[in-house]
């Protein structure tokens, strides 16, 4: 309540000051337009003519010489400042992440003329500098091939007919069948022996370490029909 009681006084004071300023401005305007005031201003300007000329000359001098002199001063001062200031400390104090966060990269990219940028790049020279052998060495070709659904590819494209034409020999087909039958008979014998000797199939080694180690590392890489896990290397040993 006390604060509220004082506000009217402040408002009254501000109002009085405003009225006074407005009145003074009106009076000053009226006075300046009066004849005596004009005569006095004219006389004052004539009396101050030497001072005005001197001031004009000084202002022109500053306008023409201040720039070069300022640059000269800055040029002399900057090395001294750089000697004193450690840029490493300054850079360490800057939060680069926050700075980058303030940059609108999308807008920046949209302003780039990528076509012009690419036109300026010598792709041949760039490719010459790339070690393709090293790049290819990092690619798991076997995994890449495994990721392709070749069954569907053969069924839906002309690839199937091409393979059929190239492997239409009876010998090739017979060899596939004989080998498959051999594997099947081996599995039958193996299962009989395993049951007779009461062995746990999961404990039996599938093959030499170098040939099946990748499989044990990733048992879900392919389905197994005999419960002993797949071999993912896709190629024979050696």
């Amino acid at each position: 309540m006390k604060g509220m009681d004082n506000e009217w006084a402040i408002d009254a004071a501000l109002g009085a000051a405003t009225v006074a300023a407005r009145t003074t401005s009106t009076v000053a305007t009226a006075v300046s337009k009066s004849t005596p005031a004009r005569v006095a201003a004219s006389a004052t300007r004539r009396l101050a003519a030497p001072l005005i000329r001197e001031g004009t000359r000084t202002r022109d001098t500053i306008a023409t010489e201040a720039g070069p002199r300022t640059r000269q001063v800055v040029g002399q001062a900057v090395p001294v400042v750089l000697d004193v200031v450690s840029l490493d400390q300054v850079l360490a104090a800057i939060d680069i992440d926050a700075l980058i966060g303030r940059i609108d990269l999308q807008q920046l990219i949209s302003r780039l003329d990528l076509n012009a940028l690419l036109a300026g790049i010598d792709l041949d020279a760039l490719l010459d500098r790339i070690d393709l052998d090293a790049v290819l060495a990092k690619i798991d070709i076997a995994a890449l091939v495994d990721s392709i659904d070749l069954d569907a590819l053969i069924a839906n494209t002309e690839l199937g007919s091409l393979i059929a034409k190239s492997t239409s020999g009876m010998a090739s087909e017979a060899l596939d069948v004989v080998r498959s039958q051999g594997v099947g008979l081996d599995n039958v014998v193996s299962r009989i022996v395993t049951r007779a000797m009461r062995r746990n199939v999961a404990d039996l080694p599938e093959g030499p370490v170098l040939l099946v180690s990748e499989v044990t590392a990733d048992p879900a890489s392919a389905p197994s029909t005999n419960g002993r896990g797949p071999v993912s290397n896709g190629q024979g040993p050696g």
């Binding site: 070749l150 069954d151 053969i154 069924a155 690839l159 199937g160 007919s161 091409l162 393979i163 059929a164 034409k165 492997t167 239409s168 090739s172 087909e173 060899l175 596939d176 004989v178 080998r179 498959s180 039958q181 051999g182 594997v183 099947g184 008979l185 081996d186 599995n187 039958v188 014998v189 193996s190 022996v193 000797m197 062995r199 039996l204 080694p205 599938e206 093959g207 030499p208 370490v209 170098l210 040939l211 099946v212 499989v215 392919a222 389905p223 197994s224 029909t225 005999n226 002993r228 896990g229 797949p230 071999v231 290397n233 896709g234 190629q235 024979g236 040993p237 050696g238």
Partner: protein, 188 residues
Amino acid sequence: MNVSHDEAVSQQGHYAGAVTRLVAFLVDQAIATAVFSAMSAFVVFLVSLLTDLEVDTNVSQIVIGVLYAVWLFMYYAYSWSVTGKTPGMAIFGIRVVQGNGAQTTPKHGVTRTLAFSLSFMTLGLGFLGIVVGRRHRALHDVIADTAVVYAWDARGARWRFLARRQAREASADVSDAPPQRSAEAVGT
């Protein structure tokens, strides 16, 4: 017995079983014996053609036996040393590797071939490990530190199987379709 190619694919690199190895061995023996017979017959023919020597049957049996043993040694030792597989093993898609799966060396090939005879000398007990062993290794495998694994490209075989089936189905569709000319005749 219908064995899918998927099963064979899943066993690539695994220890080969007894049946495949036995059949491959029999094929190898047949090939080796046939080649030796042909070569020895050719040599005897050349000798009789170029000289007047008479082949003594009693002596020649011993000589031929020794030569046959040497020939078998060369046949198996060379195959296992260089490629890891004999012609019979190549037909059935198996090969010999080191115990850890690496490529065999001449040392492994020669040792395995010499130890191979031991498996026979033990009245065949040396082969028992192929059937009941956890790693399907015979006596000569244990001595030479080798193993026999499936090595044929069953995945490729599966693709060939699918391609042939697709080709057969396509040809069946063509033969089932009514001839164009007879259809036009019906239309007219």
